[in-house]
């Protein structure tokens, strides 16, 4: 079994990159497969800055990305998809496919799936926010694209907004939509973005309409209190039911629940805090590697809170948001844990031989 010293890592985002680095440090070979042309994953591709410390993503992650590309123990294959897998722990025969449909079969001893999430598509919703109707209704991701250019504008006019409303839990915590879970990071990202907007536009009024603020750990004072106290961001408990065009502006309707009164206010820009769903790659890997999905649709792990990376399939591990909504710090921690367990599995096999 010549290749039992190789770990296949599927997906080169923060979780996959950390798994790759860790496997390499532990002395095994890495085959790192990424479907996109670029590595770094969703945060690197779509976020101008990271939560919670507002570091510029390029500065924070660029050296990790370059390190992966230049690591002699890591065989990186971009523009490559996993299309089939046969065999078991110690000898998975995995078929890889290039964009030109060329297929190659590789043999690996263990697998880490780090195929992540995709943002909820706010066109598929029961709330009436008009994402595909109104230019000035955007998502967190659209806002990040503007931040990368150092600005925040109303797409309809190209002008800076005087008033901005974030709507939380879009696509999350909603039985009708089918996603009962909290996506964990959107409260933090919205708070981070509200700070960035106020830094660019100190006179703009910024509102965050929420159900519960989920600002666990240090995020509480690092971004939530900071946004409220230093940047006077308005947190209003109550979810907007509807966005309607009124003149050149957007009328948002909701309830200010802690003040006990209905709210109807005009906004220049509405930002939808879209949550996480399993990415297409995550769904595909579930089928290809026969890893069951848990009730929310993400890859299933065994051991509950005490083993976050082992799947029911021996030799196959998961890291990051493929296993459910995760922030970057949890994703990276899982990447290291999955790598250690994958290398441990290979070491045990070597002893048995």
């Amino acid at each position: 079994m010549a290749n039992t010293d190789t770990v296949l890592i599927v997906g080169a985002g923060p979780g996959g990159m950390e798994a790759a680095r860790t496997v390499a440090e532990l002395g095994k070979k890495v085959l790192l497969v990424e479907a996109q042309a670029e590595i770094g994953g969703t945060p690197y591709a779509s976020y101008a800055t990271l939560t919670p410390d507002l570091q510029e993503t390029e500065a924070a992650m660029g050296h990790i990305v370059r390190g992966i590309r230049h690591n002699p123990s890591i065989d990186l294959r971009v523009n490559t998809r996993v299309v089939k897998s046969e065999g078991d722990i110690g000898a998975f025969h995995v078929t890889l496919e290039n964009p030109d449909a060329t297929q190659t079969v590789v043999e690996v001893g263990a697998v880490v799936i780090a195929t992540g999430f995709q943002h909820f598509d706010p066109g598929r919703e029961t709330q009436m926010y008009g994402y595909y109707e109104y230019d000035d209704v955007i998502t967190l991701v659209d806002a990040e694209a503007m931040f990368k250019q150092g600005k925040i504008i109303r797409p309809s006019t190209g002008q800076a907004p005087d008033s901005v409303a974030f709507i939380q839990c879009v696509g999350s915590r909603d039985r009708q939509i089918g996603n009962k879970y909290c996506s964990k990071v959107c409260c933090g990202i919205a708070s981070k973005q509200s700070i960035e907007i106020k830094r660019m536009l100190p006179n703009a009024k910024v509102f965050i309409f929420y159900i519960d603020m989920r600002m666990y750990g240090f995020w509480e004072d690092q971004i939530y209190w900071k946004a409220q106290e230093e940047y006077k961001v308005n947190y209003v408990r109550g979810i907007v039911t509807e966005v309607i065009r009124r003149g050149g502006k957007l009328l948002i309707k909701g309830e200010d629940t802690t003040m006990g009164r209905p709210v109807e206010v005009l906004m220049d820009l509405v930002i939808l805090s879209v949550g996480m769903e399993p990415s297409k790659g995550t769904v595909q890997m579930s089928k290809i590697f026969s890893v069951p999905r848990e009730e929310h649709g993400f890859l299933q792990t065994v051991g509950g809170p005490l083993d976050t990376v082992s799947t029911p399939v021996p030799g196959i591990f998961v890291a990051g948001a493929a296993a459910g909504p995760k922030d970057i710090e949890d994703t990276v921690s899982m990447g290291g844990a999955a790598a250690a367990k994958a290398v441990g599995a290979l070491n045990r096999l070597a002893l048995e031989v």
Binding site: M213, W225, N234, M259
Partner: protein, 228 residues
Amino acid sequence: MPSDLYREVALEEKQRLFDEVKADARYQGYLYGCYECGICVAACPSARFYDFSPRKITQTLAREDVELFYEQLNDDVWNCSQCFSCNRCPRQNSPGGLITIMREVAVNNGLRSMKEALAGYTRIIYKIMTTGTQVSPDMLQEDAFPDWGPQVKTVSDNLDVWRRALPPETLHTTGLSWQVEEKTMHELYAIWKLTGTLDMISQVDEGLHDIMEEIMDDALEDSGLRVD
């Protein structure tokens, strides 16, 4: 947020009063941010008896909701008993302190609602300012406080005797809580003048202000204390 109340008052005027509150030197130390936990309301005695919420006051200021601020400046701040039980706030806000500032702004700007709320208090102001004490033993009369029980009559009939039975001589008073020395009164006058307290009274009751100013100026002139 827009408000249906006080539409006749221009937004600019509401903003001016809000800015005056915000500019107070104490404001930054009294307001951080509010996550609407409600501990201040739970601790607030006034909230048990009135439609009054120190949380809403704090939230409104944190949100810089100028319309709602103006409603509260008129309709809510006088329901606070200024006991500062709300200071147990985990964010270290002082809702009661914010209300202190709002009350001062309401007084200094002569709001009509303030005059109505304080109309009954001019007698008390007069008593404090002329005697240096607020509540006096001779206020203890059975017809005034029937709920204090039948012994009130016995005590009030012989008030002077009861008071002289108290060991400290300074408590042998019936029309005052205790004997206030002339020097102390002069110092109080100086403090009220220098801190602007006397000026504030002109917004509550101009006649009372003029009387007090004359009394204070004369007394201070005799005392030799300089207050300018």
